[in-house]
Symmetry: C2
Subunit: 145 residues, 2 copies
DNA sequence: CTGTTTGCAAAAAATTTGCATGTTC
DNA sequence: GAACATGCAAATTTTTTGCAAACAG
């Protein structure tokens, strides 16, 4: 299990946006920063994170920005139970273990990944990510009680 | 790639519900039937499917039933883009190739599955399903134009 | 009978849109 | 300066809830 921690400084974020052909704005940098500092946040977690800053960013902009980021491949949308999406800065294809009970997402990156993905790519699918629905160890224990 | 087509007759459905400790009602049988006949339907697709019958089933009941089915392990909820969940009758853990462009879900079941899942179960995760976000062959072609 | 389940309509939650104004390149 | 991005509030879409009536076991 690996904890990958992507770009860090404001300059990194700036070039990250540029490299994806995205016009740079104050609010987009803030959304990117939130994505970097939060762990697989939802749109409203990102909104909350930014809310304190001035000028604050509107909800609509957060959603529009996330849609743009996802369309340009800068982020990946991980859809969650009951109509809630979570987002992550896109790294290479890796595996997210997504607990359906507590909602926590654990990143996973091991040798099996490549072998698995190649089965799909060989058949013409372009793999963007992989989400495994699980009960995490602690929720499994809890459900046994 | 395998197309698994689960239970068929009304009797099968009946015992399916019973085997999961779910009280049998007319509306639950209808929801189960919809799940059987439709391909990874959303809640509202299920609602539409049933709408023609008499007595019709309320939306709330469809949602309540799906939540119950998922809780008892009868179905699995596959979260989709933009706050929309899809459902499938639960088979054994298998892989869903989920196209983020057209939304289509392709079932996949091959030998690689076991090896991959055992990596997770060995670490205490209980695996319920696996969704791979992809661009399917035709959407990949379309996006190149 | 007794506890569950349902329908309905209203509420909540999540996301999108219209449009006038402000900003990037 | 032209094209694009933003804020705001209103509109949509998806899902949940409250409560009285109906139903399963």
């Amino acid at each position: 299990m690996s904890r990958r921690r992507p770009p860090s400084s404001t300059e990194d974020l700036l070039s990250l946006l540029k490299s994806h052909g995205v016009k740079v704005t104050h609010q987009r940098l803030l959304v990117a920063e939130a994505l970097m500092k939060l762990d697989h946040p939802t749109a409203s977690e990102i909104y909350e994170f930014i809310a304190s800053r001035a000028p604050a960013v509107g909800v609509a902009t957060v959603y529009r920005t996330l849609r743009l980021f996802t369309k340009t491949g800068l982020t990946r949308e991980i859809s969650s139970m009951r109509g809630l999406s979570r987002y992550e800065l896109y790294q290479r294809p890796h595996i997210n273990l997504h607990c359906i009970a507590c909602g926590h997402i654990t990143d996973f990156d091991d040798s099996h990944t490549k072998g698995l993905f190649s089965v799909f790519t060989r058949r013409g699918f372009r793999v963007l990510g992989c989400d495994v629905a699980v009960l995490c160890p602690s929720c499994t224990a809890r459900s046994r009680r």
